[in-house]
Amino acid sequence: MLDLVWLVPIFPLAGFLILFTTIGKLPQPIAAAVGAGSVGLAAVVAFSAGYVFLADGMSPLTVTLYTWMNVGDFSPGLSFYVDGLTLIMMFVITGVGFLIHVYSTTNRAVFIDDEHHSRFFAYMNLFVCAMLLLVMGDNLLLLYMGWEGVGLCSYLLIGFWHDDPANGAAARKAFVVTRIGDTAMALGLFLLFLNFRTLEIQPLMAKASGTWVLGSPTLAAFLILGGAVGKSAQLPLQTWLPDAMAGPTPVSALIHAATMVTAGVYLIARTHELFLLAPVAQTAVALVGVITLLMAACTALVQTDIKRILAFSTISQIGYMFLALGVSAWSSGIFHLMTHAFFKALLFLGAGAVIFSLHHEHNILKMGGLRKRLPVAFWSFLIGSAALAAFPFTSGFYSKEPILMQAFEVSPWLWAGGLLGAFITAIYSFRLVFIVFFGEMRTEPIEPTGLSGTPWAMAIPLLILCVLAITGGWWGEPQVAAVFPEVSGEHHAGATAYITSGVPLVGIVLAYLIFLDGRLKVTALTESSLGKVLHDFWFSHWAMDWLYNALFVSPFKWVTAFNKKDILVDSIYDGTAATAAYVHTLLSQTQTGVLRFYAASMALGLVVLVAVVLGLT
């Protein structure tokens, strides 16, 4: 059975090929069935493989379909490596991916005509295939192919409604910003190959503790971290993710919450041997995580666009995963990746339902009182937010707690930062729930149809995700411990643990008092001049876009404006082309077609050849 894991990425690939070659020709229901069905089949195979894997005692396995070529040290193959980590990722990608695909089959989720429909599912299937290649790849080449593949699909889907130039700009921004990280990662991979002459990840990691011909583990780890922060939207490359919300909501749920943005976490977990050799780089991972999670949480606190709140919350939660990796809580990081996929997909899909019901309204200040009118969305949001806020006995609680406890072992400061983040998370997530679903109704939702305004294909995935978001953590950390080294030390029970569990509750109560009960007035705080400045500062995500504009975009634009006639740069290329054309003209004059000239050339060539051969001896 495990030998058949290669089928998992094949199904979505087939789906993509079918949909892409028949764009605009397949009727909507068939396109939807192909799109969701292919991922469903992949999920079935993935879960069966997981069952067999657990039954077989969880020994890692390499499945080689074939070796592409074998030239010198270069022998890339289409081969998959399956261990606990791979399987968890496969479950998330195919499982959550399938639910999101089913959700998307309803017209209202994507609200588009036949051609768009096929195109949407084609890209989504291609994404699932690329993401599976990324996590299943046994060698760096396959991993990189998947890595770039998901980047491409992300670009295509953010700019899905490309009629609006703003969406195109958002897609470009995502592509360019992640490209910076990708470049760093490519350099890191080259460095690894250069030193150890193999592309296969497992032997490579085993060899990493050996001698380095060039560079050091620290350099390689930092370069890989560069790729990870780009893809996973962490400091300093997180600016693209909020704008990526321009894509359809299921895209945000699948790509920009549940799967692609966690690729960086996967990458670091996959190469954890390297990070263990480079303590500085690992500390940097933890710091990046903590700073990002705090920045994003503060920003989420003051946003008004429902999808942007969720986007910043995603950045913040991935920050927790980075923190986990940085403090060697490997399994907990992957655990949080999994539970986050459940509750964040739930939140996004719930948000999709809300946005649709309110005629594409994104502003939460124009929402309110939807609890009765949109019960499915309400319960989704309530459960999702509880898990997001790490409310006890929800999945998020079980995964966030061990991260913070392990952080405390490494440094109380990291713990304190994470805890502050958890406190703010609780406030902003329940601020969202209270404003949108309670209080007075500010916008009338459209007439309900089906199950209280939510069709079955939408309600059932939401329901399943609700169950997962609550119970996803009840069985403890996923069985990935075998992949990672033991975490040292025991956790302190007692005060720290109680504080860690209690702080989110305080946050929720605070949110209740401020946003629902009204007993606690914060107007004095927000109206003060410092409060206003802080609000604006946070609202603009710590002015990062402004900063990057000033630091990079504007100077670049200035240079391009200065170089409008392209004298500087283009002259190199134009010059090359002109030189080539000129040499061509010169050389073609030798092709006279005159026989005696040809013979002369041969004789001359011979003379020179003899001279060279004799002269050098």
Partner: protein
């Protein structure tokens, strides 16, 4: 001669038999289709004998001929390429005036020459094969006679080829004078001479011989004939000249260097290095602005033979010979498939009774909308020539790079690799130019010019097979790599 030796000679014997049968059939049976079928069946039988022979190799049959896996691999390649040319030529010839059956006789003779070349281990058989191949080609190039261009091409090739043969013979004579033998096996002891006048003879002789071979391989500065002959010859014959003729001669060159250990002469390799750099640069630059597809492919083949020399030169290193043979063999297979395919398209475009082959780049405009299959196949061929991944050409070029890097790492200098990279970069431009022309939407008035092109049955299948093989070996090259590896392991390196 023992039985085993006779069995080993079966490919040659079967070839000669087929030629005799075709020769006897033609006077009584003027039927192009029949003669073509006879030739193809004969070729396939010879192919079967080649496979049959693999069980008893390597075996030296008389001092002249060495049948080993190396020879058999190239024989197979030559046979298959000749089948493709024979089928393409049928479509090409059937609508032309005059009696065309003799074409197949000449084609088979030329192929026999090539086969003798790849299994020769002696200068006598080497020159015999070379001249058999060459003389058949003079006639093939001007076949069928249709205007001045073909005759001019044939005459140029005849005269210049004569000059090259003179170089080659004189070089052989000098080597013989120094070493007293013409057998490669016997040369191995004495070829690398340290001192004395013998050394001078061997070196000058080698240089003369190389000049002759470089002419046949159309390497700069012995390349001048290439575009004129390629342009003037009928497209199927051009395909044959570009693949079988060059492949066989390269095979014997590599064999000679390995068998006689000529790799020890630094200065000879240095000379070859200069020729390689010049060929890669000049070949690609000359193709840049060409408007004739056949001339573009001619210059491209000059550059490709330059790439091949990079792998060849890497054989100098200790232990590098294995990689050199491996890289060169794979590259040659890729080059055969791609070049046959590219000229196959030109050949199909030029079917019918026209005076000139349809090779103007303008005639290819809008081919995608009119003949999508042909345009797709041509695009695949061009991308493979450019070395784009997932085509066989990529794997071939990757091999050349691997061999070249190994050569460079062993302090042989980066100049070859630099020329290879620059050449490949320039190459992309003119390959894509053709693809670009094919995607253009043709003006309404122009389309009538090529509207009548039909894809013939035989040619269509040849193109389909070549395109399929090109993709299959690009996606999954391992079986071929393993085949070549087992051949390399059987060589006394």
């Amino acid at each position: 001669m023992s039985n085993t030796e006779l069995v080993a000679l079966l490919p040659l014997i079967s070839f000669a038999t087929v030629i005799t049968i075709v020769l006897l059939a033609i006077p009584f049976w003027r039927n192009l289709k029949g003669i073509c079928a006879l030739s193809v069946v004969g070729l396939l039988i010879s192919l079967a004998t080649i496979l049959w022979t693999t069980r008893i190799v390597p075996i030296q049959v008389t001092p002249l001929v060495l049948i080993d896996q190396y020879a058999l691999l190239f024989m197979t390649l030559i046979c298959l390429a000749t089948v493709a040319v024979a089928l393409l030529a049928y479509d090409y010839l059937k609508e032309r005036e005059g009696q065309q059956e003799e074409f197949y006789l000449l084609l088979l003779l030329a192929a026999l020459g090539a086969i003798v070349l790849v299994c020769s281990s002696h200068f006598a058989s080497f020159l015999l094969g070379l001249e058999l191949l060459g003389i058949s080609l003079y006639a093939l190039i001007s076949f069928p006679i249709r205007g001045q261009a073909t005759l001019e091409a044939a005459l140029k090739y005849l005269i210049l080829s004569g000059v090259a043969s003179a170089f080659l013979l004189f070089g052989t004579a000098l080597i013989f004078a120094a070493l007293g033998t013409l057998s490669f096996n016997e040369m191995v002891q004495g070829f690398y001479v340290d001192v004395g006048s013998n050394r001078l003879y061997v070196m000058v002789g080698s240089a003369l011989m190389l000049a002759g071979i470089c002419f046949k391989l159309s390497l700069v500065p012995f390349h001048m004939w290439t575009p004129d002959v390629y342009e003037g010859a009928p497209a199927p014959v051009t395909a044959f000249v570009a693949t079988v003729s060059k492949g066989a001669i390269f095979a014997i060159l590599l064999r000679f260097f390995i068998w006689t250990d000529a790799y020890q002469y630094e200065s000879i390799l240095f000379g070859l290095g200069i020729i390689a750099v010049l060929s890669m640069l000049a070949g690609n630059l000359l193709a840049l602005m060409q408007s004739s597809v056949k001339r573009i492919l001619a210059y491209s083949s000059i550059a490709h033979l330059g790439y091949l020399l990079v792998a060849f030169i890497a054989g100098r290193l200790a232990g590098g010979a294995a990689l050199a043979v491996e890289a060169a063999s794979y590259f040659l297979v890729a080059y055969f498939i791609t070049t046959l395919g590219a000229f196959g398209v030109v050949s199909i475009m030029s079917n019918g009774n026209r005076e000139r082959d349809l090779d103007d780049i303008a005639s290819y405009e809008g081919l995608f909308s009119r003949r999508p299959f042909l345009a797709t196949a041509f695009t695949a061929m061009l991308l493979s020539l450019a070395g784009i991944p997932l085509t066989v050409g990529f794997v071939g070029k990757f091999y050349i790079f691997a061999a070249g890097v190994q050569g460079a790492l062993a302090s042989y200098g980066w100049s070859l690799l630099v020329a290879l990279i620059i050449g490949s970069g320039i190459g992309l431009y003119y390959y894509l130019r053709i693809v670009f022309a094919m995607t253009k939407r043709p003006a309404a008035t122009d389309s009538a010019a090529t509207e009548w092109i039909t894809i013939p049955v035989a040619g269509g299948w040849v193109m389909l097979t070549l395109t399929g093989t090109l993709l299959a070996l690009g996606v999954y090259p391992t079986p071929l790599i393993e085949l070549i590896n087992s051949m390399v392991r059987s060589l006394p390196l």
